[in-house]
């Protein structure tokens, strides 16, 4: 049940429905943009890569095979390729600039690390958890509270908190295995 909204989006996308690109963008825009932004560091470059990734995905949607992987994982791969292209271009421009400027230091481009991509995929899935479960997971990850204190703070039964934590962690793990890069 957790995955069904994403599968609906993937079905609309591979079916080429006119509104599918908007649906895919609604669902995965922040994921693609965040990976680009963390990898490139410059907003305008991240916007360009986001545009390129979605336009490219739309044009080559015939090559997306739902049986072989998730739409999210496919988009992550396209995004990483576009980021790599942008870094190469930047390096080339940087070299030209270096030549023109007579040797001013140019920052070395960073490669998009697998870990950064995985962390953004994780943040994306965390944001999609139901409200109360997300709050439990955020407190479990980022506060010093034990699950008993979390139950107390949120006024939830202990069993509910434990169940939220177990299901939440497993759901995050499944998403990482499907869409992440460093398994």
């Amino acid at each position: 049940m957790d995955q069904s909204p994403d599968e609906d989006v993937a079905a609309a996308f591979s079916g080429g429905q006119p509104d599918a690109l908007a649906l895919v963008y609604e669902r995965f825009g922040p994921l693609v943009y965040s990976i680009a932004l963390r990898s490139l560091g410059v907003r305008s470059d991240a916007e360009d890569v986001t545009q390129q990734a979605f336009v490219s995905a739309w044009r080559s949607r015939d090559t997306f095979d739902r049986r072989r992987g998730t739409l999210g994982g496919w988009l992550v791969t396209i995004t990483r390729n576009k980021v790599a292209d942008a870094l190469r271009e930047r390096q080339r421009d940087g070299r030209v600039l270096l030549h023109v400027a007579g040797g001013v230091a140019v920052a070395a481009p960073q490669t998009p690390s697998d870990r950064v991509v995985d962390k953004i995929v994780l943040a994306d899935e965390l944001a999609r958890l139901p409200e109360s479960q997300r709050l439990v997971m955020v407190l479990a990850f980022y506060s010093d509270l034990t699950h008993k204190k979390i139950a107390h703070v949120l006024g939830l039964p202990l069993g509910t908190v434990k169940s939220h934590i177990r299901r939440g962690l497993q759901r995050l793990r499944s998403r990482l295995e499907a869409d992440g890069v460093a398994h």
Partner: protein, 267 residues
């Protein structure tokens, strides 16, 4: 001995000392439970990693405008066939997406996007401040498409034969925007976007395109679009001059629909 309770494994992955000494011993020796604990621990480690990447950011609204303008120019208007609709579990007459197109293509997805955001976590930003998780919802301002204008090369500039561009004019409650995309080769210099007056002499510079040959510009409030009714993109040399280089790459005219909107109004 039975396997460790999955809830106890999850709590141990978070660093809590949950369960009995027997649970701890089992989780340390049983290959299955040890592997499961390792998988969950890795998720926790990734989530708690303080480095870059933990925040999800929503792209600014002009990114979608550009995607819609670029992808919308493709011959991709594939109506849903009855077979495809059936495969998706809906009967053909119930598919509401094949109604006659009203207005311009990028308009509909945009409206979907604005309304869809409320129900989606797309705009969620989870920040970490001390021990509290901060949840913030951002929503794109409502814009509507006023006009979509094709930009074409001029016969007197054969060197730009293969260039093409689009300008999507959008209006929010407070301002009018021009989202411009150019397809032209990379050249020494930069591309600049102008509004040309009817006299062919007066012009307003909207700004420069970025390295991806795109740009979003605010039309100066009060601009008389009846007079400044043409959009022009020039290739400008790096010579320090603020004047139009007289090398026009592409040009297009605002349609009548765009001229009446001196003051922008929402929906």
């Amino acid at each position: 001995m039975s396997h460790t309770d999955p809830e106890i494994l999850a709590l141990r992955a978070l660093g809590e000392t949950a369960g009995s000494a027997g649970d701890a011993e089992h989780a340390g020796t049983c290959p299955r439970c040890r592997a499961e604990l390792a998988r969950l621990t890795e998720v926790v480690r990734l989530a708690r990693d303080k480095g870059a990447g933990e925040r999800l950011e929503t792209p600014p609204s002009q990114v979608w405008d550009r995607i819609a303008a670029t992808a919308g120019a493709d011959p991709v208007r594939v109506p849903v066939s009855p077979a495809a609709a059936a495969a998706n579990g809906t009967s053909a007459p119930a598919v509401p997406r094949i109604r006659p197109r009203r207005g311009l293509r990028p308009g509909r997805p945009r409206r979907r996007l604005a309304t869809g955001l409320a129900g989606l976590a797309a705009g969620l930003i989870i920040g970490i401040a001390g021990t509290a998780g901060i949840v913030q919802l951002t929503q794109a301002p409502a814009t509507r498409v006023v006009a979509q204008i094709a930009l074409s090369p001029l016969p007197q500039f054969p060197q730009w034969q293969d260039a093409a561009g689009t300008a999507v004019m959008r209006a929010t409650a407070r301002q009018q925007l021009m989202v411009v995309t150019l397809h032209a080769p990379r050249q020494p210099g930069f591309y600049e976007v102008w509004l040309l007056a009817r006299d062919g002499v007066s012009m307003i510079s909207l700004g420069d395109l970025n390295a991806g040959h795109t740009g979003t510009f605010v039309i100066p409030p009060g601009t008389d679009l009846h007079n400044y009714s043409r959009i022009d993109i020039s290739l400008q040399p790096f010579d320090g001059s603020t004047q139009h280089s007289k090398s026009s790459v592409v040009r297009g005219s605002l349609p009548a629909a765009a001229l009446g909107s001196g003051t922008a109004s929402p929906h």
